[in-house]
């Protein structure tokens, strides 16, 4: 993962909050993560093509509820289909906006999945690099958690682990 990829995610996240949520967002220093953090709500999108990996937009229950409700312009409750839909669409816009900025790389994103479970962790294949960017808004804190590598690099990886969800 390169700095330009990180910047792409920052720009995409800011664009979503500026245009559709109309709330400022600030970013903490990106951190290299050995493992992924625990979240109560995750929007997960896969990346494929010249780059492979996944993007998690991870929240606490409180921040997810406030941000999803602001995005949808109506109060949403965790555990409802509309809540999951809003979280998934947020993840879709952030991942989609970022991958459009990966110049020279053809990348596709999958349909989003949403996980709602207290303090869950979504693991990544072993050997893949993970960057976590915590974001702050007036509605709470959330994370953009990206694991990705070039598809050539992945093909050469000798230790391929399986990703999965683990309850706390």
């Amino acid at each position: 993962m390169e700095v330009r990829h990180i910047n792409a995610f920052l720009e995409a996240t800011k664009a979503v909050f500026d245009t559709m949520i109309k709330a400022p967002v600030t970013f903490e220093k990106p951190q290299i993560a050995k493992g992924r953090a625990n979240y109560d709500v995750s929007g997960v999108i896969g990346l494929s093509g010249d780059v492979v990996g996944s993007v998690i937009v991870g929240f606490s229950t409180e921040s997810a509820t406030k941000i999803a409700s602001a995005f949808a312009c109506s109060p949403l409750q965790p555990g409802t289909p509309d809540f999951a839909d809003a979280i998934g669409e947020l993840a879709n816009m952030i991942a989609g906006g970022a991958k459009a900025k990966f110049e020279g790389q053809a990348v596709s994103i999958g349909c989003p999945s949403v996980v709602v479970a207290p303090a869950h962790q979504i693991s990544s294949p072993s050997g893949s690099a993970s960057i976590c960017i915590f974001c702050n808004t007036s509605m709470g804190r959330f994370a953009i958690d990206v694991t990705m590598q070039s598809s050539v690099q992945k093909a050469n990886t000798t230790n391929n682990g399986a990703a999965g969800v683990r309850a706390a």
């Binding site: 245009t19 559709m20 816009m93 989609g96």
Partner: protein, 125 residues
Amino acid sequence: MRVLVVDDSKTMRNIVKGVLTGMGAAAIEEAGDGQDAMSRVDAFNPDLILLDWNMPVMDGISFVRAYRGRKKTTPIIMVTTEAEKTRVLEAIQAGVNNYAVKPFTPESLSKIIEATLAKAAPKAA
């Protein structure tokens, strides 16, 4: 103005419907994917179609190709996160009339809709 809104995200359909309602749309129909849209479009007879790209069952670009293949000329605006030039070109070549990239402000989407309809309006003799 009769508008068919096609997106697998109910959140996005509601956001787009809000913009259309603000513009005074007379009737708005929703579809959750391209196949659903295809089953509704003839009966609803829209003046405009707002269409997402990435959807299950039948994606947006497949809908455009199938719809245009039936010689239908209803204006179509692709409303999508797919912002790469290659994607925009692919959509235009398939037959979309305009393109709106998510995320968008209500104002920007309104302008794209107005511009699309103005261009598609029959010219005075």
